[in-house]
Amino acid sequence: MAYACAMEVEAAERYAELADQMSTHHNREVAELFAKLARIEGKHRDQILAKMGWASPPDTAVFRWETPEGAETTDYGELHYLMQPYHALKLAEHNEQRAAEFFARFAAARLPADVRAAAAEMADEEREHVRLIQEWLARVEPPEAGWDEDPDPPAVAD
């Protein structure tokens, strides 16, 4: 559960950072979406804290991710200043899928039964999040070709 909590903390913090980045670049629609995702991940964190009876997230110094960051954390490099809500939701979908796989691996590993049961429960929750994001995606307009073309680009043009 410490892994699960750390994953939600890291994801919430990153989504909040990404919301700030988009806000700075006046992409308000995506900024609001990232802020909403940050709030959702924050709620997941709070649910884990309540379930475990923890006052605050456990010290993350006790373990390290096998990957550079937690499974639900968006890589900074995935952003584009002209990205649309569809792109942001695809990132969220990818993150939730990775989280589900992460816990599913734990659930299938040779670990004590209570650990595997907790991991299986978390995997189910993450799969539910994938489903909810996919529902959300279905309501969002996919981007048209050339969505990243900027008539006044930051890069030097001819």
Binding site: E13, S23, P68, Y76, G77, L79, Y81, V156
Partner: protein, 285 residues
């Protein structure tokens, strides 16, 4: 390593601080996707791990995209002039040895206009940490080749490439006397934070070369995350062994290359205030 060599101040926070406590309220204006976000994140995490009070830390920079970092931190900060961050940082550390001094900048600032300061900062071995966010391009001025740009990088500002061999920062640092040399990647902020912790704790001049993609002018650098090799470099205090490793270096091996045992620079004798006339008397005019 001889812990007694460390002149790093021991000023742990009286209360536990979180990484967020080291970030200011100013939001970075970097392009979304920029690697430098990972450095702010890692630096804040590293300072939290070190337990240093923000008022006991100074972040000094030069000019360039990455040199905006002092504004984004809650510690003391100094956004200096182009290429002179190490000179300012050295002066600050000598005047205020109690501060943890972290100098930040980019490859253009640090290896071109600031190249000479880089050599001599390594040589002087003053106890501070230099973090260079290397994206192999001048981003702030819209994409000119920098000293670390590949010779064949073809762009509108460098048709067919410069044809010039790249500057080798880690080799130069090793040859010039830096006491701690490491390479990290912004795509791994947690790993980068660990390296920064080690760099700050190590006595003398610590140099951290950070691969920090520029997604605007070098979008191909998004592929770096697929080619970096984590923990490929293992620390040694043997200079010749570190040099041999550099001969096989591809530029994408991450980790600590060298952790030397050279004592950090310390001014000789007591720092007493003397009248200027005493100083004048010692010069032949």
């Amino acid at each position: 390593m001889n812990e007694a060599l460390s002149t790093a101040p021991v000023a742990p926070a009286s209360h536990a601080l979180a990484a967020a406590d080291y970030k200011s309220d100013i939001k970075p204006v970097w392009c979304p996707g920029c690697g430098d976000f990972g450095v702010v994140n890692a630096l804040a995490k590293a300072l939290a791990k070190l337990g240093l009070e923000p008022r006991n830390v100074a972040v000094v920079s030069g000019i360039g995209c990455s040199s905006r970092i002092p504004a984004y931190m809650s510690s003391y900060g100094f956004h200096g002039v182009h290429g002179r961050a190490l000179a300012a940082g050295t002066g600050l550390k000598i005047a205020r040895p109690d501060l943890t001094v972290i100098v930040t900048g980019g490859d253009g600032d640090g290896y071109s206009i600031g190249g000479n300061h880089f050599l001599h900062a390594c040589r002087r071995n003053v106890d501070m940490t230099y973090i260079v966010m290397d994206n192999r391009v001048y981003g702030m001025t819209k994409g000119q080749p920098s000293p670390t740009t590949e010779p064949d990088w073809d762009s509108k500002l460098s048709p067919e490439g410069t044809g010039l061999r790249e500057f080798q920062p880690m080799v130069i640092a090793l040859a010039s006397g830096a006491n701690f040399i490491a390479r990290a990647f912004t795509g791994d902020p947690n790993g980068l934070a660990d390296v920064i912790v080690q760099a700050v704790q190590h006595p003398g001049f610590s140099f951290v070369e950070v691969l920090s993609p520029c997604v605007t002018f070098r979008p191909e650098q998004k592929e770096w995350k697929k080619i970096v090799r984590s923990d490929a470099l293992r620390p040694t205090s043997d200079l010749s062994r570190a040099a041999r490793r550099m001969l096989r270096d591809t530029g994408f091996e991450l980790g600590v290359l060298y952790a030397g045992e050279r004592p950090a620079y310390a001014p000789r004798g007591p720092r007493a205030m003397r009248p200027v006339t005493d100083l004048e008397a010692r010069f032949e005019l």
